[in-house]
Symmetry: C2
Subunit: 237 residues, 2 copies
Amino acid sequence: MPDACDGCSNDLCLRNVPLFSSLQRDAVHALTSEMEHHRYKKGEIIVREGEKASAFTVIREGSAKAYRITPDGREQILYIFPVNDYFGARFLFTEERVPYTVEALEPTTVCTLSKTNFENLLAEHSQVAIEIIEAMANRMSRLENAMQSMGGRNADMRIASLLLEFKESYGHYNGNFLEITLPLSREGLANYLGIARETLSRKLTQFEEDGIILAVGNRVIRILDLAKLTDLSYLVD
Amino acid sequence: MPDACDGCSNDLCLRNVPLFSSLQRDAVHALTSEMEHHRYKKGEIIVREGEKASAFTVIREGSAKAYRITPDGREQILYIFPVNDYFGARFLFTEERVPYTVEALEPTTVCTLSKTNFENLLAEHSQVAIEIIEAMANRMSRLENAMQSMGGRNADMRIASLLLEFKESYGHYNGNFLEITLPLSREGLANYLGIARETLSRKLTQFEEDGIILAVGNRVIRILDLAKLTDLSYLVD
DNA sequence: CTTGGTTTGTGATTTCAATCACAGAATAAA
DNA sequence: TTTATTCTGTGATTGAAATCACAAACCAAG
């Protein structure tokens, strides 16, 4: 059982969470006092698929992956939740059971809000409800894009799309170089894309040969030719 | 330009739409008077990808498909909207542009509500907002399932899953036979699944040989062995 | 009922990705 | 720094689905 996170409890730790940006300072403070705080090590399970959904969860530090185990034993990753992202709004509304397992990708702290507190929050702050709808809408856009790209027949396109997607959340400049610090191992990336790890490796090697990217160790990819990558994401041919 | 639908305008035509089931009779009546009504022939475009999103749309009769054209020229179908379903709630919130083209699959009538009227509706009837969140949540579940199944490596599983999904909306009994009247041609089904039409044909033939289904003409599939179909949807091997 | 355009099934072939197997690289720990 | 373990790249092979090509079946309109 993970430790409680006390470094957070008397601080306005939710200040930076976009979802709550519309709230007044004291409302955030009140909210914080209602939340529980937990700390997880890398690889620990935050919620497990099939459990009763009980809380709305905000990622305060670290990041997590949400996945299901497919019938043939593969791990299909559905979402990556970066810092300040959250999950659980949706299945508090409609489902009893959590639809996927959420696992910490690194040392991670989360704040959780019980179902009733969450419902009160929505009732009292309609702006938060609207922001949740917007966030759900964005997530749906992502799923639709993912679906389109997974329907796509070739792996290059899917990989290029993924790199561009990760660039948004995990891209940064190292000197003049645009680099992505990947949140997942090659195996994880492959599971996210629904392809074999070996295929991913081969394709990335090919991207390197084509001068599009450069792998810097296992977790960093430097983008050398963004235009070409964008082309690939549209059409490989 | 499609004709206006006048058979609907002074009737409580939205009575049967689940989304509005929480509204009082007179609220529905008021709503109806604010809606525009349009009629489309099979194949006509209701909204086109990239247009400015301007209205919330309810399918009153008929059905429609929502799709994007992928860079390699394929049509990737994202949703099928059956009678009484609706679309547009989501992109009124967040996006200026419609993320997919919606096309009538058969003679179809729709009712549309302008952005401002829709916003007023939500403001006055918070229950509708909650039902929209729930509907979005359900659609996300479907997308997540679709994503899992598209990540799945074999086509049999995807096809079996699709048949079971369609059974919910399009299944009916013909005598003792459970039958699905397909909303799409084989080509459409293949585009929905992201596989080649020929592959779909071959697999369906194989399903017939295995005594799982029986194709009755081009648009009806009779399910002979639901248990086997369910097995397939989990794992082919 | 006939007719003509459209949709569908199926054989032959090709292509792309999965799988198996293993060595080399990277990373974390002592 | 060294060592142990996990992660990654790559060759060989297999396998599943895409593609090409065309005939048969379907269905809607006279």
